[in-house]
Structures are given as structure tokens and as C-alpha cells.
């Protein structure tokens, strides 16, 4: 089963190494993906959904309908994109009146339609449930023996009532996925706490946003983490730039799971873009 590869904004436009690493990792793992012409922003839930639920629904539905036209499920590499596209699909699937209204506008515009026939998946879900830990272990060429602080982010698991990916308070998917390539999962205080970037808070209230980030970074450091592993470019940005801005010498490189896997599978370093990070990755 191939996927429509949904890029979002922060990966392609701020951390293109995440996009590039995901492509080579998908190739290595045999995950088929296709690029779809004309996708837009998911659109980002923090600002768009806070401003106008209807705009958020229609722009999200257009992205879903473009994938549907190609007969493909969607794969995302960002919790924000997952928070939008999964939730838009969930709302439209459960509300015929809203779905008809949105479809009437889409049809008039592009002849597009959203029917709910295809799924939205997060790439960590695809790696865990479709590729599987065993295959990942087999393909691992270079063990990554670092103490890693896993950051799930919020919208991969929650709202768990709809997403049903894993337990929102005590998940294990990412622990299994990092241990598959030899990394050591470090438990730390408030592990499930938000990075501080979401909901439009980074843009509107930087001070508050950084307080959350600092709390998480302090807790990770106290637990002797050598590296932060995320599955969301926005959390990634928050921890990577956040460490530089806070200037407290945390020295914990921030890696999107795709980049960790790129290293573990021995894929070309010039495709992983880790030298672009603000917090240096000296491993």
C-alpha cells in the first residue's frame, strides 16, 4: 500500500533534513510513498483552528481530497499535521451535515470530494504497525547506544479516544522503536508534557512557551539524556532552537526519529541534514 506523502510546513521549509531523512528511510524500509502536487499547509491547528474552524476544515479537507483522488492513504511526519488532518477527517466522517457543506464548496472549487474512504497515518504508526520492530532490527547496521529522552508530543496520541494509537499516559511505541536500533530509553519527570510550542503559544506568548520548554529540557538533563528523539518538526524546532535561545549549555542534540533511523541504517549523512540543527549534533 502506497501513501500520499504529506510534507506540511516546518519539515520542508525549516528542517528539510527531516523530509530528506524520511524519504531515504522509507526507501530503505520499503514504505511506498508518492508526492502529490499542490498540497498546502495542513492547515496548522494552533492558529487556523483557533481562528476559524470552517477554514481549518475546508483547507484540511482539500488536502485529504487530493490524496483521495489518487486513491491513497496519507502519511504525515508531523504531529501538527496529524492533529489537523486526522481530526478533520474524524469530524467530517462523523458529521454528515458538515461533510456535505464542505464537499459542496470543494466541488464548486476543484471538483474534489472527501468521502472518508482513506486513512491518515503518522509515520511512527506506520513504522511500528506496518514495518514492524523486527524488520527494523534486521536492517540496523549501526547501533545507536545513546541515552535518549523520547518526546511524544501531544497530537500523535491525543485525543486518544479517536486516535487509538497507544496509551496517552504510558505509551510504549516510541520506546520500542528507539530500542530497536540500540538506543537506551531514559525515563524522566513529566515525560508526556507538551514542548510548549503548540496551540499558537510559541507565536503569541514566547515567554510561557519557553517556560514549558525549559521544564522539559531540565527534566531530560537531570535524567542524563544524551539526545532528544521527537516525531514532530515543531517540537523539534522548539527543543533545537530553544536550547540555543536558553543558552544553558544543555548540549542535547535533537533528532527526528527519521534522522536517528538514517544513522542506524547507515544511510548517507548528507541526506539527513543534522548539521543544519542549531544545537550541534556531535556524536
Amino acid at each position: 500500500m502506497a501513501y500520499a506523502f504529506f510534507l506540511g510546513c516546518i519539515a520542508p521549509l525549516r528542517y528539510p533534513g527531516i523530509e530528506s531523512a524520511t524519504r531515504v528511510v522509507f526507501d530503505k524500509l520499503g514504505v511506498e510513498y508518492r508526492d502529490i502536487k499542490g498540497f498546502s499547509c495542513c492547515p496548522a491547528p494552533g492558529v487556523t483552528r483557533s481562528f476559524s474552524e470552517e477554514t481549518w476544515l475546508v483547507v484540511g479537507a482539500r488536502n485529504l481530497a487530493l490524496a483521495e483522488k489518487e486513491g491513497l492513504d496519507v502519511v504525515v511526519i508531523c504531529n501538527g499535521c496529524y492533529g489537523s488532518l486526522f481530526d478533520v477527517a474524524h469530524i467530517l466522517n462523523g458529521d454528515e451535515e458538515k461533510r456535505n457543506k464542505i464537499n459542496a464548496i470543494l466541488k464548486e472549487e476543484d471538483g474534489l470530494a472527501y468521502t472518508g474512504k482513506y486513512k491518515v497515518k503518522h509515520f511512527a504508526d506506520v513504522l511500528y504497525n506496518e514495518v514492524g520492530v523486527d524488520k527494523i532490527k534486521q536492517l540496523c547496521e549501526a547501533q545507536q547506544p545513546y541515552n535518549v529522552a523520547i518526546h511524544y508530543g501531544c497530537h500523535f496520541l491525543k485525543p486518544s479516544k479517536h486516535k487509538k494509537v497507544d496509551d496517552p499516559e504510558r505509551p510504549t511505541i516510541l520506546e520500542d522503536l528507539v530500542e530497536a536500533v540500540g538506543a537506551v530509553n531514559i525515563d524522566y519527570k513529566e515525560k508526556q508534557m507538551c514542548c510548549g510550542a503548540g496551540g499558537g503559544v510559541r507565536a503569541r506568548n514566547k515567554d510561557l512557551s519557553m517556560k514549558l520548554t525549559k521544564t522539559k529540557l531540565d527534566n531530560m538533563k537531570d535524567a542524563n539524556a544524551e539526545m532528544i528523539i521527537d516525531i514532530c518538526p515543531f517540537c523539534h524546532l522548539q527543543f533545537d532552537i530553544g536550547q540555543a535561545e536558553l543558552g544553558e549549555g544543555y548540549g542535547m542534540p535533537v533528532m527526528h526519529l527519521s534522522q536517528l533511523y538514517g544513522m542506524a541504517f547507515g544511510l548517507p549523512k548528507d541526506k539527513l541534514g543534522i548539521e543544519l540543527h542549531k544545537t550541534p549534533v556531535n556524536l
Binding site: P12, S20, P43, S52, E53, R62, G199
Partner: protein, 170 residues
Amino acid sequence: MSEFIEPNTEFSKEVAKRAGNTFNLCFQCGTCTGSCASGYFTAFRTRKVVRMAQLGLPTVLESDDLWACTTCYTCYERCPRGVDIPEIIFAIRNMAVEKGYMGEAHRKTAGFLLKTGHMVPINDEIKKTRQHLGLEEVPDTTLANPKALSSVQRLMMAMHFDELIGTKEE
């Protein structure tokens, strides 16, 4: 001395119309507030937002604290009554924005979305970096497809998003 406040049932009805009426299930236990990371650092009280929705107190629209929520969903996960608090916050934020209460940084970001189809702008440095990584210089999204961009723009305008973000903050 405390003053009596007349509940504004119209306001409650409007929130219910947009977010469902799960806020009527809230018995003010405060699990949400106790679980709220933003509330730990600020005066933002999730329980109070839900109470204001119940009582119909439109002053909640003017509150800066309304924008402290990171939408992490921990409150919703832990609520013993299943109140969809993030949904309520989104609805109240929508109503606030319609009245012109919006942060300048948010308005600017919303403007990028309308102008480019993305929330994050592209620049020459990123184009060069993308090329070095072996990616297309400009991703094949609305950024490289003017037709796709105008379609997104028309959809947004069908929802009057352009008028919405043209409103000045009061």
C-alpha cells in the same frame, strides 16, 4: 463585595452550537486545571473557562489567558466527565477572533497561509539547503503550483478568512 452576574444563555448556546454541550457535564472538580502545563506557569484556569461557558460570561472572549492553552489535550484525557475542553477553547477562540481579539503574531501567520498556502515562508537559504539535500528547490506544494494556491485562497475566502484577519485588534 461580590456582584450578581446575569447568566447570558445566548452565549452558552452559541458555545454549545460550536463545541457541543459537553460543558454542561462539568462538575468543577478541577482535574483539568491540575493537569494543565500552561496553568502551572500562568493564571490560566481551564476549569474557569468551562464555568464561564456554562454561565455564559462573554468576558472570557477578552481574556489573554484564553491563548495560553497549547491544545495538549491532557485535560480532555483526564476529565472524569468527558468534557471536550480543547473543543470548547477552540470555539471560544473563534468567537473572540470574530470580535477582533487576535494576537498580531497570529494574524501575521494567518496572512502567510492566505498568501502562500503555508504558515512558514520560504527563502533563498532554504532553497539552497533543499538543493544540497537533493530535494526539489521548492516543494511541489502550493509554493510551486499557482493554480493550487489560488484554489486554496478561494476556499479560504469562501469562509471569509480574508475579512476575518483584516479586522483590527481592539
